[in-house]
């Protein structure tokens, strides 16, 4: 019997727990030239804002030890063009569609989400209240429990399907923010976004990013993400989508043992774009070896030392 990879989050069924993370798979078109998107449990779009954005000038990425920095600056086509030009393609894919939304004011979040609410193919919205790469707000929402709660409550009023709050790791207590998101009415939590970091070119003495700093992602940050998922799982009832440095089936198992119901894969797609297909295969082998029938048997089952 092949083990079952299906998971259910906030009533939505995913064929497997593997999604592609926001900003790491565009709007899906390019990835579909590498593998059929039906292989994914879900796809999370690049952050959508009310108006189109070009983002920061190049260089806006830099290589680091087992990871990378980015300060793309929320480059995206804007919500109207997204709905008109990107949704038709996405609607044809046999995978769940999660639209990531960013903004610099609560009003902006609400306006974008209201438009997305009328767009049937969208399964969920993920609220990026944690992007470190825009000055106007992004980050502050996610660092302040009150703002977190308030913004989520406002969006919940206009968006009727499940809402994911994507949390920032750049805080003293992610549990406190998670609880505020729960309070505000979030249905799901996803964590983590990138960690603030920088790198300097020792020849030119300039930062390697035109934005001077950026967000650190990739395998380097996995232990941090895992500890945060573990902490939030212990203190919050909401289902969790684990994110951060995932690049193998073993990584997915670690996140699920710590309490994640599903995961998002980001940076690893840049190194090995077909990695989700391999991970799905390896997960089945792992479950078989462990004589488990469903991947949900892993969720939160870490056996901690007393």
């Amino acid at each position: 019997m092949t083990p079952d990879l299906k998971v259910v989050i906030a009533g939505v069924e995913f064929s497997n727990p593997l999604m592609t993370a926001s900003g790491c798979c565009g709007y899906g078109e390019e990835l579909s030239e590498i593998f059929p998107l039906s292989k994914l449990g879900g796809l999370v779009t690049k952050s959508i804002t009310l108006h189109p954005r070009l983002g920061h000038p190049t260089p806006r990425t830099a290589e680091t030890s087992c990871g990378m920095l980015n300060a793309i600056g929320l480059a995206n086509v804007g919500v109207d063009k997204f709905i008109a030009e990107k949704i038709p393609f996405l609607a044809r894919q046999k995978t769940k569609i999660i639209v990531n939304v960013a903004g610099s004011t609560i009003k902006e979040y609400v306006e974008v989400c209201a438009r997305l609410n009328d767009c049937e193919p969208i399964d969920m919205v993920e609220l990026n209240i944690s992007c470190p790469n825009v000055d106007e707000g992004g980050m502050e929402f996610g660092a302040d429990p009150k703002m977190t709660e308030k913004s989520i409550r406002a969006v919940k009023k206009v968006f009727q399907r499940p809402l994911i709050a994507k949390l920032s790791p750049n805080v003293t207590s992610i549990v406190e923010i998670a609880q505020a998101a729960e309070q505000g009415g979030a249905d799901v939590l996803s964590l983590i976004n990138s960690l603030v970091g920088t790198a300097i070119d020792i020849d030119t003495w300039q930062p390697r990013l035109t934005n001077n700093k950026g967000g650190l992602t990739g395998p380097a940050i996995k232990p941090i993400a895992l500890a945060m998922v573990d902490a939030v799982y212990s203190h919050c009832k909401l289902p969790i989508i684990g994110i951060g440095g995932i690049a193998s089936a073993a990584d997915v198992v670690e996140f699920m043992l710590c309490g994640a119901t599903a995961v998002e894969i980001g940076t690893a797609l840049f190194i090995q774009p077909d990695i989700p297909v391999k991970i799905a295969k390896d997960l089945k082998t792992y479950l078989k070896d462990k004589k488990l029938t469903s991947i949900t048997n892993l969720i939160g089952k870490v056996r901690k030392y007393k």
Partner: protein
């Protein structure tokens, strides 16, 4: 069928062309039939200090043998490690990537403008044109480098019977100076003819070539470099501003752009 593949392929031949310049021939590459001049492959270099893949233009392909060739110069950490790989080692190759060159009309005069390690895609382009029956005499192959040591694969260029115009900054081989000088002379001497420019090389040179094209109203294409985390359009890390406004991704909207298309 997907258009792009990622697979482990073997080094079947490694040559140290000159000083820091190397050629690697790899096989078997499944997507060999899809490859076109101007496209590149993204190589994974398995090492602790290298995280991103590294992009290398296709320098040649051989459909019968299933081989692709890349030519590189040791520049930083990645290329240094790559130069230590040996025959029968394998590398993970993602490709073929990017938009290829558009071939010229057969009647047009073709000005090739290669600078330094910008040579490989132009080698492939010219080889392909010759194979397709273009008259090599209509191809003017300008190739500039700092010094004689930077003008590699001379015999290979000569064998294609194109008009070879080597240029070095220090005059140690070929004409002294920058390639845009003899190119401009050639343009002025052949005003009547229809011409196309194809260029790849350092940023400064591309800028000059781009301006040359605009100045004399000569169409053509230039191949750009950019930091490329993914190489397939996912990350938006490689963008260049467009003259008409907005951004283009060098990896999948390029690396080949028309003269006058991007802000350099």
């Amino acid at each position: 069928m997907t258009k792009i593949i990622s697979e482990d392929i073997f080094i079947v031949k490694k040559r140290n062309l000159k000083n820091d310049y190397y050629s690697l021939v790899l096989k078997p590459f499944s997507k060999i039939e899809n490859c076109q001049p101007g496209q590149f492959v993204h190589l994974r270099i398995p090492s602790a200090s290298i995280f991103f893949r590294r992009a290398f233009s296709l320098a040649d392909t051989n459909a019968e043998k299933g081989t692709i060739e890349i030519i590189f110069k040791v520049f930083g950490r990645g290329t240094r490690i790559l130069s230590s790989f040996r025959k029968s080692d394998y590398l993970n190759v993602l490709g073929p990537l990017g938009v290829p060159f558009k071939l010229p009309d057969k009647k047009e005069k073709v000005l090739i403008a290669a600078g330094g390690i910008g040579l490989p895609p132009l080698l492939y382009l010219v080889a392909e044109m010759v194979k397709k029956g273009y008259n090599p005499e209509t191809i003017e192959f300008f190739y500039g480098g700092k010094t004689a040591a930077d003008i590699i694969e001379r015999n290979r260029i000569k064998k294609m019977k194109v008009n070879f115009h080597p240029v070095t900054e220090d005059g140690s081989f070929g004409e002294k100076g920058l390639i845009t000088t003899p190119m401009e002379e050639m343009i002025l001497e052949n005003k009547a003819e229809k011409m196309k420019i194809y260029s790849c090389g350092p940023e400064g040179m591309l800028k000059a070539v781009n301006e040359l094209g605009l100045k004399y109203g000569i169409e053509g294409q230039i191949s750009l470099e950019a930091p490329m985390p993914c190489g397939i359009g996912l990350c938006l890390g490689c963008v260049v501003p467009l003259v008409k406004g907005g951004h283009a991704r060098v990896c999948c909207d390029g690396p080949v752009f028309d003269i006058g298309e991007v802000v350099l």
